[in-house]
Symmetry: C2
């Protein structure tokens, strides 16, 4: 389970992939495998949360890192780079954006 | 606090706004106000989580609804429509995509 709390001050990456719908499952598998094999063992990794759009045209990774420095160190890691190249080859495009979480509004449980 | 768990089977909206950096704070305020005043009182609302990109060029709302039907009913609500029109007028563009959460990978606590 992943928790979102602005007090954690994590760096949040939302990476939105555009993909041919018939390749969405393959992309999810590659991202899931990359997370288990490599990303989760890197310093500052908190979580990766993989989503597929209802129309299968997009895959989104909502990923939390303890700091922006940890995220940027991952980008330079050769194993992580290899996984990212593999994912990019399956997708038609991708847009990674680094955020801070500002407001959490939760409804009544 | 918001939790992400694929077993909840929520409908997840990730709405990515592109914004002039000097208007990012205004957009966050409008979205936060809309959530408190209207969205959180609608059937099926679970959470809204407002993010601002480190370069201030994007605002993202990661929102959970109990079902796609609840989300689509919100889209037709006149008060919600008014808030969305107000947010759209501040942003230069926005891309709402509806997802299912497939995999959660959490690191060691």
């Amino acid at each position: 389970m992943t928790t979102l709390d602005s007090k954690d001050h994590y760096a949040t990456l939302i990476n939105t992939f555009t993909v041919e719908p018939e390749r969405a499952e393959q992309l999810l598998e590659v991202l899931s495998h990359a997370t288990e094999e490599t990303m989760r063992h890197l310093p500052g990794f908190v979580s990766a949360n993989l989503h597929v759009s209802l129309d299968r045209k997009h895959v989104a990774n909502y990923a939390q890192w303890k700091s922006r420095a940890d995220f940027e160190a991952m980008l330079k890691n050769p194993l992580a780079k290899g996984h990212m190249t593999e994912a990019a080859a399956i997708a038609t495009s991708f847009t990674p954006i680094l955020y801070e979480l500002r407001h959490v509004h939760a409804g009544a449980p």
